[in-house]
Amino acid sequence: MTEILGALDLTAGFPGSPPVLDGACVSIRRGVRMALLGQNGSGKTTLLRCLAGALTPIRGTIRANGTALAHDRASLRAHRRLVQLVLQDPDDQLFSADVTQDVSFGPLNLGLGEAGARARVEEALELLAITHLAERPTHQLSYGERKRVAIAGAVAMRPSVLLLDEPTAGLDPAGVAELMATLDGLDTTVVLATHDVDLALSWADEVAVVSGRRVRQGDPSILGDAELLASARLRRPWQLELLHRLGLSANPLPRSVDDVARAIQ
C-alpha cells in the first residue's frame, strides 16, 4: 500500500514554549486504520493538527500523496479536501442552528450546489446512523449525538483521510462499540487518537505511539513492548498483559476476548 499522508522530521509547538513534537515522523498508508496513542499532553493533538494543515510546523514537512504541503492558502485549501480533522469536543465544531445546516456547511463550501450538498448530507447522516437527527437543533442533542454530528460534518466532505481526536472519550461502552462499527463502515483512511490501549489493540491495523516528542510506529504488536509503553506512560493492553503473565505467546496477536481464550486453551 502507498502512503497517503505523512510527516517527516516534524517540529511543532507554540511560540514561547518548548516544542511539543521534535523530529517526529509518521507515515499513513492508504486505507489503513491507525490508532495514535499517547498520554494527555504528549502531542497527539498537535500531530493531528499538523497533519490536517491546521497548524504550521516550525520545521519539517507534511506529505500528502507524496507531495510536500506548502502552507500557502491555495495548498491548504486543496489539503483540506483531502484530510479532515474531527476535534475532541464536538462543541468546537458545531455552530449551526440545526443538524442538516451544520453538516451541509462543508459540502456547500466545496462548491457543490444545493442538490449536491443535500445528497452529501443525507449520505453522511446515513453513514453515521443519525438520519433521525436531521431536523433537530444541535444544542439539544446529547454529547454522543453531538459527536456523531461533528463526524458527519467531516465525512460529508468525503475526505480521503479522516483524523479523529479522542472520538470515544466520554462515550459509554455501548456508544464506543457503535461508533467503532460506524467507522468500520467508512471507506476512508482513518487515524484515531486515543489513550485506550485495549481499544487500539482490538481495532487498529497499525499503531503510532507519541512519546518524548517523537512518534514510534508499527503493527499493533508494539503494544507489548514494555519499554516503549513505559516511556509513553501507557499500560499494556490487558490481552497482552495476561498472556505475558501466563508465559504464553502473543502470536498471533490476540485482539479480542475470544482470541485470548483461544491462546490459553
Binding site: A97, D98, P137, H139
Partner: protein
C-alpha cells in the same frame, strides 16, 4: 478603537471621569440590585460581559481595512437596559485596557462615556422609538445596534475635537476632521453590526 492612554490632557481626563461616574454608579447600583435578587443574575451578567468582550474580537466579513471592531453594546442595551450596560461596559473597557492595551486608565472615563453610556443610551432610544412606532422588531434591532455603534465613535470624535481644536476653525473644524477619521470609516462597520444583529435575531427565532 478607544482613546489611548496619555492622549487626553489631564483636566479633560478628570472631567470625563466626573461625567461618567454618576452613570456608572447608577449602573452599579442596578447590578447590585439584580445580583441581590438572585445569585443566578451574577452569572448571567458575567456571561453578558464576557460576551461583549469576545464580540469585539469577532471579525466581520467584508469590513476589511477598518481598524475598528463591533462594540457589542447595542445588543446588550436591548436585553439589559442602558444602566446595566454602563457597568458591564466599564468592566469590558477595563479588561480591554489591561489585557489588550486597547484604551487606557486615565482615558477610561472618556471611553466609558462614549462606549458604555452614550452608545447604549442612543441605541436604546432608537429601540424604544421603533417599538413605539410599531416597526418590525428586526428593523429596531438593526437600527439600535448600528446607532449604538456609530454614536460611540461620534462621541469619541467629539471628545478628541474638544481636546485638540483646529488652529483656525476651532472645535467645529476639529470635529469634522476627527469625525472623518473615526466616524465616517465606522459607518460600514456600524451597518455591519446592525446586520449581524438582524441575523442573530433570525438565528434565535429559529432555535
Amino acid at each position: 478603537m478607544h482613546i489611548a492612554e496619555g492622549f487626553l490632557p489631564p483636566l479633560q481626563c478628570a472631567a470625563w471621569f466626573a461625567v461618567a461616574a454618576p452613570f456608572v454608579i447608577h449602573g452599579g447600583r442596578a447590578v447590585v440590585r439584580e445580583a441581590r435578587k438572585s445569585p443566578e443574575n451574577r452569572l448571567l451578567l458575567a456571561a453578558a460581559g464576557a460576551f461583549t468582550f469576545v464580540l469585539s474580537a469577532i471579525k466581520l466579513p467584508s469590513v476589511t481595512g477598518s481598524s475598528s471592531h463591533p462594540t457589542g453594546t447595542g445588543a446588550g442595551t436591548i436585553l439589559f437596559k442602558p444602566p446595566v450596560m454602563a457597568f458591564l461596559g466599564t468592566v469590558v473597557l477595563l479588561f480591554q485596557a489591561l489585557l489588550l492595551a486597547h484604551g487606557g486608565l486615565t482615558t477610561l472615563g472618556a471611553n466609558v462615556f462614549s462606549m458604555a453610556i452614550a452608545g447604549p443610551w442612543a441605541g436604546y432610544g432608537v429601540w424604544r422609538l421603533f417599538k413605539a412606532a410599531k416597526a418590525p422588531t428586526w428593523l429596531g434591532v438593526f437600527f439600535a445596534m448600528a446607532v449604538a455603534n456609530l454614536f460611540t465613535y461620534c462621541v469619541t470624535s467629539l471628545q478628541l475635537a474638544l481636546a485638540y481644536p483646529d488652529a483656525t476653525t476651532g472645535f467645529l473644524g476639529a470635529l469634522a476632521k476627527f469625525l472623518g477619521v473615526f466616524a465616517v470609516t465606522q459607518i460600514p462597520l456600524s451597518i455591519a453590526e446592525g446586520v449581524l444583529g438582524v441575523l442573530l435575531f433570525g438565528f434565535f427565532t429559529r432555535v
